[in-house]
Symmetry: C2
Subunit: 771 residues, 2 copies
């Protein structure tokens, strides 16, 4: 795959303007800081193809459900991430002509995303029809240290004549979503205020009433001298406010505008005072100045990279790919606010609306758990905990009782948004991943208090759901779970999906185990949980125990494999290798029914379960299942190859693990699926991280210890990653010969390397032999 981007360890560089790829680049060069984000739309006017996107975390619009045929139980709306007012706009008019890369003659163009410093820079030279040659350098960042602030420095050098320059730096709230079911406007009631140089625009979402206020202040310099006063006018109209700078330029003049931005939302501020606060904050940014503001931002990024960088030597494309993924994950979610989560497209596009899918718990969670302070992962858990009441309400709508919870398939505020019956109502395994994340967190951090204070409430509610959803079959003399969709969405409405049944059984077991553990260590908290949840110990626990002992888990004993669901072996047995390449991807070539009744698997399903619970199975069992399902998996979900890669690495099939790893490592950078224009696959990016750390690194937590089984793909000289255990960072570097482990914490850590105990002293590095 030839990349459009220059190979570079820390930067994404595009050195040509390609209008046909402009929307792709808008996605790739997106910047964000967990609280807001922005596609790489141009500051100056652009009349070519573009998807304008400016997003503020936690805000949504309830877009009326669009459906062909209504099924009872469908939610009334789908929460959409609204495109929010634009704050990047800087119109440039030279000699009465708009600077517009779609129409001006371009001499050179470079765009660089510096991932180390979180800075987007764009430089280009164009010739205007007046003959004026314009050299532009535009730098922008959204502050990682002060997430309500952003800044742009837009510099122009004009040569080849004298003339008239007009710069209009504006905020525009007259925006729309491309993805609006009924073409509705999502925003209303804009207020515009000005105060000296400062302007603010306030807007409110329809129906949900979220308020966003964006303020700006601009400094205009000519040849380094601040000439704002005397050359600048403020102009406002409905939903719009601008600073307009006019100037008679001479050849050789360098003019720059520095635009200081504050974006405040009603999630964090009272709507009444939000405009004045936004103006103060923008002014505060101006007082600090671009350099100081950027320096704090750069340092915040440096701290991030210290916690989560992966270094790959000998393969620059892989290095660039994984850093891009880590960069985007950090940009999307910083973990300071338990009301926020990780949208599948983060701040890079509108598609899929909503914010939270099971992707968070099944994929992204482990990344944040290992690459940030433990409060970050904890906030992801609290997000679901805070939505527990709504999950109980949601389950109630589907006929479940007594505090049973079904967390939504897609949500913003805890209410279900999605409306495909086979997904919304049936892809219930998501409940299991939410329970698993609690286990995953406690296993890693040791924070058992979380269980007593919050976790058990969720575990009990999810267990109650499973205990009602599993029904008794006289015929089989087993509990069964009928009518589900597993992780493999190329099967719908199946019976006894192995993954769903196994995670249901595991949830019940784990909940009982946690209850028993708490009973032993803290009787008061134990009693509080029992009271709070009105758990009927005798009746409920004995029913759960009965299900644990008697749930049907389909398998094929002759093949020695678990069966994805009842009847899987009735399908026409074919292998991916027998498919006609011209019919791939299947989802673009086969009708849906044909996909459903085929053996072909969209994404890891049985293997997802074996990944979660690998220690419960011996390698031969893993191998038989891996060989069977990998041969039938078309990996048409970006979440899939990484799980297969991890299992292949565990099975010492490094070539295959590497090939699978490659399928997502640069998914967006190289636009494998020709859809990057809509935004990036943020949650899948965590999968690549998992492939490296859990796959090649062989990292897992077992018996309260870090266990490492590192290997390395032939293509790499070495790689290193950082992980956390008990909130202590460890760096693991793997070379052809060595495994070099650094303990950054102030206490010793006992780990297992290739099954052997090793102690790494505090602050020390141990060099050990790679097997």
């Amino acid at each position: 795959m030839n990349s459009r981007f220059v190979p570079d360890e820390w930067k994404i560089i595009e050195n040509r303007f390609e209008p046909e790829n402009s929307k792709d680049s808008e996605s790739i060069f997106s910047i964000g800081n967990g609280m807001m984000g922005q596609r790489a739309n141009f500051e100056e006017r652009y009349s070519g193809d573009t998807l304008q996107g400016s997003y503020v975390a936690g805000i949504f619009y309830p877009d009326k459900t669009l459906v062909g045929w209504w099924k009872n139980g469908y939610p009334e709306y789908f929460a959409k991430v609204p495109n929010t007012m634009s704050w990047i706009g800087i119109d440039i008019e030279i000699d009465d002509q708009q600077l517009d890369l779609a129409t001006c003659k371009i001499k050179s163009f470079t765009r660089t995303l510096d991932m180390k410093e979180g800075l987007l820079t764009r430089s280009f030279i164009v010739t205007m029809s007046s003959g004026c040659i314009v050299e532009v350098t535009a730098k922008r960042f959204v502050s990682m240290s002060e997430p309500e602030k952003a800044a742009i420095k837009y510099s122009l050098k004009l040569s080849g004549g004298n003339g008239k320059l007009r710069i209009t730096s504006y905020i525009n709230a007259d925006v729309k979503n491309e993805d609006a079911n009924y073409g509705e406007k999502f925003w209303e009631e804009t207020a515009v205020k000005t105060e000296g140089k400062k302007v603010v625009v306030k807007s409110q979402t329809r129906k949900t009433g979220f308020v966003v206020a964006t303020a700006q202040t601009n400094v205009f310099c000519v040849n380094g001298r601040d000439v704002t006063d005397g050359h600048t006018d403020i102009s406002t109209r409905n939903q719009y406010a601008a600073s307009i700078f006019t100037y008679q330029y001479s050849s050789g003049d360098v003019i720059d505008v520095t635009k200081y931005i504050a974006v405040l939302s009603s999630l964090n501020h009272a709507p009444g005072s939000i405009e004045s606060k936004a103006m103060s904050k923008a002014y505060e940014a101006e007082c600090e100045g671009f350099i100081m503001l950027f320096d704090k931002h750069r340092k915040a990024w440096a701290e991030r990279w210290e916690q989560g960088d992966i270094v790959i030597k000998g393969d620059i494309a892989a290095q660039q790919g994984i850093r891009f993924n880590i960069f985007q994950l950090y940009q999307t979610y910083t973990g300071e606010d338990p009301r926020l989560n990780i949208g599948p497209k983060g701040f890079t596009g509108e598609k899929y609306g909503g914010s939270t899918y099971w992707d968070t718990e099944a994929f992204a969670f482990t990344f944040y758990l290992n690459t940030a302070d433990s409060h970050v992962a904890r906030n992801l858990l609290l997000y679901r905990y805070k939505q527990l009441d709504k999950a109980i309400e949601n389950a109630g709508k589907l006929g479940f009782k007594n505090g049973a919870a079904l967390f939504p398939m897609v949500t913003m505020n805890g209410e279900e948004c999605h409306n495909e019956w086979e997904i919304t109502f049936e892809e219930i395994h998501r409940n299991g991943a939410i329970a698993y994340a609690i286990f995953n967190y406690v296993r890693n951090t040791g924070d058992k208090d979380y269980l007593a204070d919050y976790g058990l409430d969720v575990l009990i509610a999810v267990s109650r759901f499973w205990s009602q959803r599993a029904t008794w079959s006289d015929h089989r003399n087993k509990f069964v779970i009928l009518g589900v969709t597993g992780p493999n969405e190329y099967e719908n409405n199946v019976n006894n999906n192995w993954y769903t049944n196994i995670i249901a059984r595991w949830t019940l077991k784990y909940t009982i185990e946690v209850l028993e553990g708490l009973h032993v260590v803290n009787n008061a908290k134990y009693n509080a949980v029992i009271t709070r949840t009105a758990l009927d110990l005798e009746k409920e626990i004995s029913h759960w125990t009965n299900i644990i002992a008697n749930i049907h888990l389909p398998e094929d004993t002759s093949l020695g494999i678990f069966l994805q669901q009842d009847g899987y072996m009735d399908k026409e047995q074919m292998l991916v290798s027998e498919l006609n390449p011209s019919e791939r991807p299947l989802n673009q070539h086969w009708s849906w029914d044909r996909i459903l009744r085929s053996v072909f698997i969209k994404q890891a399903d049985v293997l997802q379960g074996l990944y979660f619970f690998e220690d419960d199975y011996d390698d031969e069992t893993l191998r038989r299942n891996f060989d069977f399902y990998e041969a039938r998996c078309v990996h048409e979900s970006s979440l899939s190859p990484s799980i297969h890669s991890i299992l292949a690495a565990k099975l010492k099939d490094i070539d295959r693990a590497y090939k699978l790893y490659l399928r997502t490592a640069r998914l967006d950078l190289d636009d494998y699926n020709k859809e990057v224009k809509d935004g990036l696959h943020i949650t899948s990016m965590a999968g690549t991280w998992l492939s490296i750390v859990q796959g090649f690194g062989g990292m897992k937590i077992k018996n309260d210890k870090v266990s490492l089984n590192p290997t390395i793909p032939d293509a790499w000289e070495s790689f290193s990653f950082i992980m956390r255990f008990r909130n202590k960072p460890l760096k693991v570097e793997v070379t052809e010969r060595d495994v070099i482990i650094t303990n950054f914490s102030d206490s010793g850590i006992n780990i297992e390397l290739y099954g052997e105990p090793v102690t790494i002293e505090p602050g020390k590095t141990s060099k050990l032999e790679r097997k």
Copy 2:
């Protein structure tokens, strides 16, 4: 159930104006003639709640598919029956006030649908604000003898003062569909022409370009004298043309307008000359006059009733109910044009769009086969035959090859319209019903030429579909049919639906049998079929034979029942009797997933198969299956109870058969489902007919003979029905003691009564003992 209508053997009478039921009555009092139809909207202006509906057969608008989540293979549009230009409009203005039943003071109101004569009459008296008392009698019919003609006689008697009368009799093409996915207009490019008293409006559907031209001519009389000339003006505007009559009335004047209508469509006329033809036809109607026109119409209805009347004595509600059903079925489809079919709402509403569902072959077909000349049923078969190429194309889109056909779930012109994957792609049993109708037709008529000339082409294409859709399971050592939805739509995407598998097997068997039969009797035609279809006798037939012998048919041997699908017995076993009545109907109270995984059945499924193939099973097998499934069937489809009723009658459980019969006998008249406002359940009406004739009458064709096993519900004194065999009509009257059979044909008929041979001489009636 208290009916809103006066009990009457031949009439539907409403003797009060109830605005809250006005839309219901618009549906109930609809009139039609197979070529066009009209809801019982008022002639004069009505500002209350109304669904305007005027329909012309065979015309459709391709409404862009509305879907939440697109699945590969979905069709681009859903064919909608467009609301066509209105021709009933007669505005009445008295002393400058509009006559409007929503605002005028109503003294009396009666509406009568005379089903014997096909006449809708409305009489009412209102007082205008000027004090003028207006007595109106409006009669209308759409001609059954000349189906492009219709006429209205609208009479007013004015008393209580003198004043100004203005009558505007118009055609209005500015109409819309309530059911338009994107609010689009379906019609465009209207032309309006006038010629003397005659006016014509021409309109064309967007995209599909169907043309409809409606012409009118009006005769205005005062106290019986034609005063049209001198009092009438023609007025036209875009999409509208009217005759306006103005007159100074005196108390006691009787004014009437007779409106002669011609509705022509491009299905039968070249669009270029359609306007002038329409005007000629309207003028022709005027020349004949209302009385003559009506007399021919009345006679055409009398002929219909001679062919299909059912007389029930001792139960006037039942008599009214069945005649209403027969009346509507005859109004909807007359069988003269093989491009037409039976829409689920006929000419009574827009809902469900499309025209053709499997309802036609599975339910309505047997009605027309028995109550009309055999060319009517033959035209229903030809409808599908003519769409065979598109069915092959449709199957091709789903991956089937070599001339395999999948007829659409919903269609107008042979292209699939529907867009729910679990229905569109998976409810493939419809293909079986289409094959079964061919068998049903030949069994009854003996017209084997149809098979050689047309039927085999369809049977071979459907058999090819089944032979590819059934796949081999090594695991079971059987052929399986995976991923289907059976007639019971409360299960989706199941494996080995017994009904689907049995009808697939039957199709294969029947196709081979027909081929072998033709080989024996007409080798030339046999060879022509083989050549035409490029049938590979050796390969294809041996594969079919293999499937016939080895298809998996799920059953529970311990219960002695056939299983609706694999895994049915894994469900939580509950009975309808255990359901909380407050949760009925389930489809309004339970979420879709809950319905799916429950045992509850929407409509006959295994029992539908046993109904089709009853002679293949002994009564004990039928009884075990009936008892099992009836106890689990919620009958939430109007197609369901009649099939159960027929089987109950066969099993001599007459009370139960009668109770089931009652569930649909007056479904629309008494509006059980509170949805009659949207239109009538035309295809379900055939089910009631089947319950009486095949259920209580015990009528079937067996071994090339009519077989009768009549019984009678306690509530009835007697009932009689007419049926056809070999295109010869037979009347069967059943009383408490006797079975009286009349042979209307000119040759003797050998039948079986209660299993004993009986011969009925030509033109004779035999009175036999009822058992």
